[in-house]
């Protein structure tokens, strides 16, 4: 569904997207601090600056559509509807976390909203989304699956294997490349020899490339491609150009980056401009921002107060049913 329309109602979708952009941004800004202060352990990869891709794509999905994510997956999770409480509780390793404190940032997942997991293995989400699309096709449920992946992941064999199979089997799969120009500490131009437009053409996969910092552009392209997919056209690929504002992970000194990179476009500012053009008062946006911030703080307070992850419960969850044959 396109995000823009006319009148108050016409702006409802765009306002919702604006709010989601803010939720993701503010959550990650808080995580940045919580990590620096030692409250969030492990490796965290922030998607600050890339939020419009998650929000725009999700505007074209229904609650039962599925997605597989990456190591930079907070935005995907939150835009798909992961509750803030469960999200922060997971990052703070609480028993009330979405994964009961066992996965952390790189593994946030919520099956109840079709979020099949962030992933620590580059490229792995491609095959998981392809399999999810196969299930949708066989179950004839009208749903689609989405695979988010980075432009560095184009080097993994799985992209090629999955692209071929998805095209061959005409699977309801949307491939979304988040092209931030970086593969860890190396520019993607030093890693990838091919062009996704030609790649898609070779496999007979519908292709669009858009400005991934403009949530309206992402939403339009996602609406068009998911329409094709839902009507049985097989897989499609959407490349969203964007910018990685922060390091590869929190704590990355980024010595490999030059200070004269052009200033990136802020997806929140861009969305704000769309809203201003549609006649929405800035006061409205300030109210949204205040609400988002207080919801996030409440979630953090709740996470801090929640019980820690439990070892016995973790051990009992390795298999679905309790094991047998143990002597003592």
């Amino acid at each position: 569904m396109p995000l823009t329309g006319t009148g108050e109602d016409g702006n409802a979708a765009l306002l919702r997207s604006y709010e989601q952009l803010l939720v993701i941004r503010r959550c990650e800004e808080r995580l940045q601090r919580l990590f620096a202060e030692g409250e969030v352990p492990g490796f965290i990869h922030l998607g600050v600056g890339q939020e419009a891709i998650s929000v725009g794509v999700m505007s074209a999905l229904g609650p039962a559509d599925t997605l597989a994510s990456t190591h930079r997956g907070h935005g995907h999770a939150l835009a798909k509807g992961m509750p803030l409480d469960g999200f922060f509780a997971e990052l703070l390793a609480r028993d009330t976390g979405v994964c009961r404190g066992r996965g952390g940032s790189m593994h946030v997942a919520d099956m109840s909203i079709g979020m099949l997991g962030a992933n620590g293995i580059v490229g792995a989400g491609l095959s998981i989304a392809t399999g999810s699309a196969l299930a949708h096709k066989l179950r004839k449920n009208g749903q689609i699956a989405v695979s988010f992946f980075g432009d560095g992941a184009l080097a993994e064999g799985l992209l090629h294997e999955c692209g071929n199979m998805a095209a061959l089997m005409k699977l309801p799969l949307l491939l979304v490349c988040e092209a931030n120009g970086w593969s860890e500490f190396s520019p993607v131009s030093s890693q990838i020899a091919f062009d996704l437009a030609k790649w898609s053409e070779a496999y007979g996969i519908a292709y669009r490339k858009i400005d991934g910092n403009d949530v309206v552009a992402v939403a339009e392209a996602a609406a068009e491609l998911t329409g094709l997919i839902r009507s049985g056209g097989g897989p499609a690929l959407l490349t969203c150009t964007t910018d990685r504002w922060r390091g590869h992970f929190e704590g990355d000194a980024q010595k490999y980056r030059s200070s004269d990179e052009p200033a990136p476009r802020d997806p929140i500012v861009v969305a704000g401009e769309h809203l201003a053009a549609a006649g929405v008062a800035t006061q409205r946006l300030t109210q949204i921002a205040a609400r988002v911030e207080s919801e996030i703080e409440e979630a953090i307070v709740a996470a801090r107060a929640a019980p820690p992850a439990r070892f016995d419960a973790a051990l009992a969850d390795v298999y679905t049913a309790a094991s047998i044959g143990v002597a003592i």
């Binding site: 490796f43 066992r102 996965g103 620590g120 490229g123 080097a155 500490f185 820690p308 992850a309 070892f311």
Partner: protein, 326 residues
């Protein structure tokens, strides 16, 4: 005696091997310009240039397979896989190609390659960035597996691994990279397949490798105050492992404990326990006890991970159990 960090010792071994042998090349993700995710290969690009210090795309299956082909064609590739968890993507190259080539082709060719990779937890890195999978590789005929415990043997074992004509999986521990320790003035290769008795004792033998060696040493220190004398063996090489050294120690002490960070079930400790039960049955005065991780993935939560990983207190309890002093 000079001082060196574990990570720097590995970098030094790579540099010296490249200096001595122009066929040694290194490849991996972000190892050249960025010097590796853990900084181990820093400086090598400047020294040896981009032809021998090769940054690769994120293509583990391809780079491991390429290492096999390059090794069969005159090079000695040393490949870095950023986390041991990602070796899963390189498995066909290692298990079906590198390990089999010499045997399957009637000994026409050897595959002189090294796969370097860090294992181990302690960073809250979660289930896909913390695993110790060395037992998998040790189970494959044709592969050798090495796991150094400190800077001196990290250097010496890596030099030997690179010089070895067969494929070697060289397992480093992330938590040891910053460890500083004394190393000999003149660094030399340490032959593969030889264990080191790093502390001699009378009452019980503790076999360890990698980061678990430090746990064993602390355990020995603590138990010394109770007049329990612990002999600590650093295995150094897991495949082939030094059965003779472990058996000799068992013959002296009569009691055996094996400790590693990897999951206990079907692990390296299981093999050692089984062999010693067979070869050393007459020496045994008590049960062989293993200490390892429980049968579950590595959890993200720092608290859970601390419970999960072997500790001095668990090792002390295991030694008491082996001695019948529970």
């Amino acid at each position: 005696m000079a001082q060196l960090r574990y990570g720097a010792a590995i970098g030094q071994a790579l540099a010296d091997a490249m200096q001595d042998d122009p066929t040694v090349v290194i490849m991996g993700e972000d190892i050249a310009g960025a010097g590796g995710s853990f900084g181990i290969t820093r400086g090598l690009l400047d020294k040896f240039g981009p032809e021998r210090v090769i940054d690769t795309p994120i293509s583990e299956a391809a780079i491991a397979g390429m290492a096999v082909g390059a090794a069969m064609s005159g090079l000695k590739p040393v490949l870095e896989i950023m986390f041991m968890d990602f070796t899963t993507l390189a498995m066909d190259a290692m298990v079906n190609q590198a390990a089999k080539a010499r045997f399957m082709f009637g000994a026409q060719v050897s595959v002189p390659m090294v796969l370097r990779t860090p294992h181990g937890g302690g960073l809250s890195a979660g289930p896909q960035h913390s695993q110790c999978l060395e037992a998998w590789f040790a189970h494959v005929p044709g592969l050798k597996v090495v796991c150094p415990s400190g800077p001196a043997n990290a250097y010496g074992l890596l030099r030997a691994a690179i010089a070895d004509p067969d494929p070697v999986v060289f397992v480093e521990h992330k938590g040891l990279y910053a460890m500083r320790d004394e190393v000999p003035e003149v660094l030399a290769p340490i032959p593969l397949g030889q264990a080191a008795v790093v502390r001699s004792g009378e009452h019980v033998t503790v076999v360890a490798y990698g980061a678990a060696v430090a746990l064993a040493m602390q355990t020995a220190e603590q138990l010394a105050s109770e007049s329990i004398s612990v002999e600590v063996i650093d295995l150094q090489t897991i495949q082939p492992w030094d059965e003779a050294a472990v058996l000799a120690s068992l013959a002296k002490t009569g009691h055996l404990v094996v400790v590693h960070e990897a999951v206990e079930a079907f692990g390296v400790g299981a093999e050692i326990a089984a062999r010693m039960a067979e070869l050393g049955f007459s020496y045994l005065k008590g049960p062989i006890v293993r200490v390892g991780a429980p049968f579950m993935p590595v959890p993200f939560s720092a608290e859970l991970e601390a419970t999960y990983r072997p500790s001095v207190s668990r090792l002390i309890a295991a030694v008491r159990k082996a001695l019948g002093k529970e």
